[in-house]
């Protein structure tokens, strides 16, 4: 999708968080991305250094956890792995399933680096 602009809004969120908490810099920035989110993890990684340059997150590292694609079957109750173009139950073949995991594009956590003794706001 729009990985550079997504990275820029990610960096905005991270920068805001760092400022609010009085952090001097940022360590790990962890995302969780699912295969049905529309976000391409590799493109996010490529765009990240461009978006973070010159910010408090300039030295940070982007970690992307890949969320598995999993559905829960409304017919038989099984929770099974699926593929983006086939979200049917792997146990009974029913197409009445709910996505349990797989469309996430979440900022999970941010590691803030603060000088010893400064306060959490």
């Amino acid at each position: 999708m729009h990985e550079l602009s997504l990275c820029q809004s990610l960096i905005d969120q991270v920068q805001q968080l760092a400022l609010t908490h009085g952090a001097q810099s940022v360590g790990l920035v962890t995302l969780k991305i699912g295969p049905l989110s529309g976000v391409e993890p590799v493109l996010m990684q490529h765009a990240y250094p461009f978006a973070s340059a010159g910010t408090l997150a300039a030295e940070s590292t982007l970690v992307i956890e890949l969320a598995p694609l999993q559905v829960r079957c409304e017919s038989c109750g099984a929770e099974t792995e699926a593929e983006p173009s086939r979200l049917v139950c792997a146990a009974c073949g029913s197409c009445h399933t709910q996505l349990v995991s797989g469309d996430e594009m979440l900022l999970m956590s941010v590691e803030l680096i603060t000088a010893e003794g400064s306060n959490h706001v």
Binding site: Q13, K32, S85, C95, H96, L107, V110, E111, T114
Partner: protein
């Protein structure tokens, strides 16, 4: 504690919350990368609900017949409902002009290089638009089967069009888009006899494989063929929308997975 991060967002996350270790603190956030857009979309939906109007986002590849469908719909419902249209295109006022020629208010958003509409663009447009005088507002998104699906605009329903010249495998190739459909329209059905390889049944099967149970309809807007089920769908959606608003409720288009996402993330 602060508003920007998820310190102590739920008991399950407490372990991630503020914990200084050698000057390094991990804060849990659990926010969508599109949080800013999603917040704006919620605000837009409040505008629509305040006016008791039904807002529908039309998405498809370029040229699948979105504007033709709107023209035929306006002709058919002219005496029944007050309709307005927000048009999104990279360039030109062409589509808005086509709608205005039908005597209906239309606002053109030209996105320049952006290949989708976002909630901020729509908000700007709706403040220059006679919302109070409408029953149904259509938003014709930029022709594109990829990113428009990810941007909530504040609409109540997504309608995805697939013209029969595009191939019946498109739901399998663009699952993010077709999963977001509250209704799938197979358009230009007058051309089906000329095509030997488009099977409406196969298109529907590919949609069902995405665990979607939404209705699928065939129509040909330019020939005014098969419009009735679509018009009835609009009528009942508007009635439901008004009943919801009167109960103080609203509805978001498919897929509504945020709850599940946050639940998962909190595990």
């Amino acid at each position: 504690m602060c508003d920007t991060c998820g310190c102590n967002i739920t008991p399950g996350n407490r372990e991630f919350a503020y914990k200084p270790v050698n000057g390094t603190t991990a804060v849990a956030v659990l926010k969508s990368l599109l949080a800013r857009n999603d917040d704006q979309a919620i605000h837009n939906r409040q505008h629509f609900d305040r006016q008791r109007l039904l807002t529908i986002n039309l998405m498809s590849s370029p040229g699948s017949g979105k504007t033709a469908l709107l023209e035929a719909t306006i002709d058919a419902l002219r005496n029944e409902y007050r309709i307005g249209v927000i048009e999104g295109d990279l360039e030109t006022e062409n589509d808005a002009k086509r709608i205005r020629a039908k005597g209906v208010p239309a606002h053109q958003i030209t996105t320049g290089s952006a290949c989708h509409l976002d909630a901020h663009m729509v908000h700007e447009a709706l403040h220059q638009f006679p919302l109070a005088e409408l029953d149904i507002l259509f938003i014709e998104n930029v022709g594109n089967l990829v990113c428009p699906a990810s941007f909530d605009l504040g609409q109540h329903r997504n309608v995805v069009l697939l013209s029969v010249t595009e191939g019946d495998d498109k739901p399998a190739k663009y699952p993010v888009m077709f999963r977001a459909a509250d209704l799938l329209l197979l358009t230009k059905s007058d051309l089906l006899p000329l095509l030997d390889d488009f099977s409406p049944a196969r298109a529907e099967a590919n949609l069902r494989n995405l665990a979607s149970t939404v209705p699928v309809m065939q129509l040909a807007a330019r020939k005014a063929l098969g419009l009735q089920p679509w018009l009835d769908w609009l009528r009942s959606e508007l009635a439901w929308q008004r009943a919801r608003v009167d109960r103080g409720e609203t509805v978001r288009p498919r897929p509504q997975a945020d709850g599940a996402q946050l639940h998962e993330a909190a595990k």
